[in-house]
């Protein structure tokens, strides 16, 4: 196909599918079914969804790995010896200082062992960190935290943005003006800067307003911060869509039938933007995970000793030359996870709402 000059530039999945299957066959089907059909043909997107699910499953199996493979919990320190390849070795290299004639004689120590892969019978497969904790175990538990933060904050953010966008788009006028200015306002802050500002301010004494009590080290502070900073990133495009739908006949019809505002917003407007919401939600997960890394790296995210991929990168940053495993694998895990979400999100977008776009910024 694509023989004419005009089509030379296109890579429009929908058009391709329509051309392949013939327009008649599609008629009368719900858009969701159509999208599902398009997505099913996008093997790349599907296989990356598989990768993402695999990562999730692996992280969920962290307790199993901890109990049956590494034998160490996520925060368990160990500084003894293990047997690897038949040899007994210290998990942390032993050093110390002797004073000889007033002069210190130093043996350097404190270097954790690197990846043992299978040599130590499942122990320290990815090596140890400076406290003798198992990097593999922490990577899985850290992933659990990072994914949890990513998905939860994306969900909260999406939920809030949808409500705000519906209110703004449906009521218009003053409500729209206020909500739009609110979006503009948050939009005006650099994401990471706003994130660390909130994260640091909240870490001082925790959050104790509106009946919510969070300690400064709570995971929910990070989640709250990330969900807050991304609100306009979903809210702005959605508001536009709702605004456009507001004057369509089906909304007017519902109004004429005496449907309540809430009813119209949730049964008439929401289903029509649902596909965009789904796409934006997916893409925000990827951004939320990366933002968690940024915040934790800068010291305004997940609090120690609990692992997350971001704190692992931060913890390992001063030990790259002797124990690169601490940062290295966490980074690879993030890249794989985020990449799989992005590729799947792309596929989802092509299938559902090719125009949905999201600005990303986490430098």
């Amino acid at each position: 196909m694509a023989t004419t000059g005009q089509e030379e530039f296109t890579l429009d999945t929908a058009a391709e599918l329509a051309a392949e299957s013939g327009a008649k066959e599609i008629q009368g089907r719900s858009p969701w079914v159509l999208a599902g059909r398009r997505l099913r043909r996008n093997y790349v997107a599907l296989s990356f969804l598989g990768v993402f699910l695999l990562v999730v499953v692996c992280c969920l199996l962290a307790p199993v790995y901890s109990a049956h493979v590494s034998g160490l919990g996520q925060n368990d320190q160990f500084s003894g010896t293990i047997v690897s390849n038949g040899k007994t070795i210290h998990v942390i290299s032993q050093g110390g200082t002797k004073i000889v004639n007033g002069q210190p004689q130093i043996v350097f120590g404190g270097v954790p062992i690197g990846p043992q892969w299978g040599a130590a019978g499942g122990k320290y497969i990815l090596g140890a960190d400076e406290l003798g904790r198992d990097v593999g175990t922490r990577l899985l538990y850290g992933g659990l935290n990072s994914l949890y933060i990513g998905v939860t904050s994306a969900a909260i953010c999406t939920f809030l943005s949808v409500i705000l966008a519906l209110l703004a788009g449906y009521f218009g006028g003053v409500v729209d003006w206020i909500i739009s200015r609110f979006f503009d306002l948050i939009w005006a802050f650099p994401v990471v800067l706003l994130g660390i500002a909130l994260g640091t301010a909240l870490s001082v004494n925790g959050f104790h307003h509106f009946g919510i009590n969070l300690s400064g080290s709570s995971l929910w502070i990070t989640i709250g911060v990330i969900s807050f900073v991304f609100i306009p990133y979903i809210g702005r495009p959605l508001r536009g869509q709702v605004l456009a739908l507001r004057n369509r006949e089906f909304v007017e019809a519902a109004t004429a039938q005496g449907a309540s505002s809430v009813r119209i917003m949730f049964t008439e407007l929401l289903p029509n933007v649902a596909s965009s919401v789904l796409v934006l939600f997916t893409l925000i997960i990827a951004n939320a995970i990366l933002t968690e890394v940024g915040l934790s790296y800068l010291g305004a995210g997940v609090r120690l000793p609990n692992p997350s991929w971001g704190t692992m990168i931060e913890e390992g940053s001063t030990r790259l030359s002797t124990a690169p495993q601490i940062s290295l694998y966490a980074g690879i895990a993030i890249a794989i996870t985020v990449l799989s979400i992005n590729v799947f999100g792309d596929g989802l977008r092509d299938a559902l709402d090719p125009r949905a776009k999201i600005r990303i910024e986490h430098g």
């Binding site: 925060n75 368990d76 320190q77 500084s79 942390i92 290299s93 032993q94 050093g95 110390g96 200082t97 002797k98 004073i99 007033g102 002069q103 210190p104 130093i106 043996v107 350097f108 120590g109 404190g110 270097v111 400076e130 406290l131 080290s217 010291g299 609090r303 120690l304 000793p305 001063t318 030990r319 790259l320 030359s321 002797t322 124990a323």
Partner: protein, 565 residues
């Protein structure tokens, strides 16, 4: 003073009481052997001058002798701000580096009235780097300025007659009746409420270094107050850089024992990034790295630049405080359990090997030090678990306080938290920024149960350790230095008695033994704290420098004496 890397200032409050210590008669404490002969460092370094020393320096809190309480600046102050008396600028390895010598004054003071009155006479014709003449009244105004600025050093002056009104309202302090000066005769007369064993040492630390009376009573930032030593700080850009130049009004050999210095100028960039500063010296862009080498790359640097690196043991102790007033550490067995539960070798490993495990509170460089033997708390988790069980504190919630922005301190806190969990507590971690860590921990309202702390000596007498850090009489509500609220009535009394001895006894073998016994009793019988190591510092030079010139004076190395190969 506390900590090499921690960004903090200790309030060395309440150094009260004590006896006059006739240093000239007894010699100081400290690591070095006798020495004692008049050190003529200036002649030994003659002819080694060079135009400029480019250094990478750790960031400091202030560049003002009245305000700063960090090693980074005190290291510079020994060449820029002198007091009436000074510590000898000689190596602790070969000489008596804790000996007190006359500084701006002609002698180390005439002591009368049973150790309650000190009389000094200023040397003639001394000038500050800005050309002003050094006057006797400047000394008094320096102390008043300290009060006016709420200097962390004002606690050292509490034994001077007439300071009470200043202590009650420091910013309004305008006169101290116990200090009488005469500009014409150049005399300074200090009256004490009671004899004080460490008073000459107090007069040797930067808080008493004399600055002009006209110096503003606030942090002047740039430029810092004019100097009166062989150098002065010509410019200072906080956290970024400083330039130190020769004092134009310093005549060679002006004060015997204070070397004139080799570099004509010291230009320094300031950073607290250890990797960065080591790299700048390794690449030859700078000559001297004041920061400690990065833990991670110690072996690498030592292999590659072995002849350019020096290691120094410092009179310092790193320890965990345990709060006697709060469960679970109100219980002796719980405190003993912590001592058994920490593997001191592992804590040394965390610092890359830069440390010597210890069970004593006093560092080994003190003549009053006596190694506690047999080892009181060999690493034994089972024993620790048993003790926790016996204490009935099993399952108690414990919050471990530590510093968040120094990687090693954070790991240390994480280590302790992990070990406490292993022996039956429910421990969580509370990392705090070093900027206000000690303020928060030192506030009784915080109710800090256990946490990281360290201590670097201000001057070499055990009262700097036991009286400030473990005397229950000195516990305060805020700015407490005795974080564990250690309070043993009999020990408090002994500390007081040792400070109230006849002067000739201050460093006698029997007094030394008594200090050692206090150390032993507190650590073994009461497990008052959990000391774990004495710190090691590093000095890293570029290949054009001769590390042999680098001598370690009391607690710090002296940049003025560095020389080229």
């Amino acid at each position: 003073m506390r900590t090499k890397r921690g960004r903090f200032v200790a309030i060395a409050a309440v150094v009260a009481t004590g006896l006059a210590l006739v240093v000239s008669a007894c010699g100081g404490g400290g690591g070095g052997g006798g020495g004692g002969s008049n050190p003529t460092t200036s002649s030994s370094t003659a002819g080694k001058t060079f135009p400029v020393l480019k250094a990478v320096w750790g960031t400091t809190d202030y560049m003002d002798p009245g305000l700063s309480y960090r090693l980074e600046s005190w290291q510079l102050f020994q060449d820029t701000y002198l007091g009436l008396v000074v510590k000898a600028r000689v190596s602790c390895l070969t000489d008596n580096c804790t000996k007190i010598l006359p500084g701006l004054a002609t002698t180390t003071g005439t002591v009368t009235n049973g150790g309650k009155e000190y009389k000094f006479t200023l040397r003639k014709g001394l000038k500050y780097s800005n050309g002003e003449t050094i006057k006797a009244s400047d000394f008094k105004n320096t102390i008043i300025r300290d009060f006016n600025m709420n200097s962390p050093g004002i606690g050292f002056f509490s034994n001077i007659v007439g300071v009470d009104s200043c202590e009650n309202n420091p910013t309004k302090c305008s006169d101290i009746s116990g200090i009488v000066t005469n500009d014409a005769a150049g005399t300074v007369d200090i009256k004490l409420k009671s004899p004080e064993s460490d008073f000459l040492y107090v007069l040797s630390i930067p808080f008493t270094s004399v600055v002009p009376s006209s110096t503003p009573k606030k942090d002047t930032e740039n430029p810092p107050p004019p100097g009166n030593g062989p150098y002065y700080i010509a410019s200072y850009n906080p956290s970024k850089s400083f330039v130190m130049k020769r004092n134009p009004n310093w005549t060679k050999g002006e004060i015997p024992g204070i070397p004139d210095g080799n570099p004509d100028k010291i230009v320094a960039t300031m950073t607290s990034d250890q990797a960065q500063s080591a790299q700048l010296v390794a690449s030859g862009q700078y000559d001297y790295d004041e920061n400690i080498l990065p833990t991670d790359q110690l072996a690498h640097y030592k292999n590659k630049y072995s002849s350019q690196i020096k290691f120094w043991t410092t009179p310092s102790t790193y320890y965990f405080f345990m709060n006697w007033r709060l469960p679970p550490f109100s219980n002796l067995k719980a405190r003993q359990a912590v001592n058994y539960a920490i593997d001191r070798n592992q804590l040394v490993n965390l610092r890359g090997g830069l440390g010597v495990p210890t069970y004593n509170f006093l560092p080994p460089s003190y003549p009053q030090y006596k190694k506690i033997s047999p080892t009181p708390y060999p690493y034994n988790l089972n024993k620790a678990k048993q003790l926790v069980k016996q204490s009935g504190m099993q399952g108690q919630k414990v919050t471990v306080y530590t510093i968040s922005d120094v990687a090693v301190d954070l790991s240390t806190g994480e280590y302790l938290q992990g070990q406490l969990n292993k022996i039956g507590f429910k421990a969580s971690l509370k990392p705090l920024a070093s900027a206000n860590y000690f303020t928060i921990v030192g506030n009784q309202a915080t109710k800090a149960q256990i946490g990281f702390t360290d201590w670097f000596e201000d001057y070499p007498y055990p009262s700097d350790w036991f009286n400030i850090l473990q005397n229950g009489e000195n516990i305060t509500q805020v700015h407490n230095n005795n974080y564990g609220n250690v309070d043993v009535k009999s020990i408090n009394k002994q500390i007081d008695t040792l400070d109230h001895q006849p002067p000739s006894n201050a460093l006698s073998p029997s007094t030394n033994a008594k200090w050692a016994e206090i150390d032993r009793t507190l650590m073994v019988k009461y497990a008052s704290t959990a000391p774990y190591l004495n710190g090691i510092l590093t000095s890293f030079f570029s290949s054009r420098m001769d590390p042999a010139c680098d001598i370690f004076t009391d607690g710090q190395d002296d940049a003025a004496q560095f020389c080229l190969k």
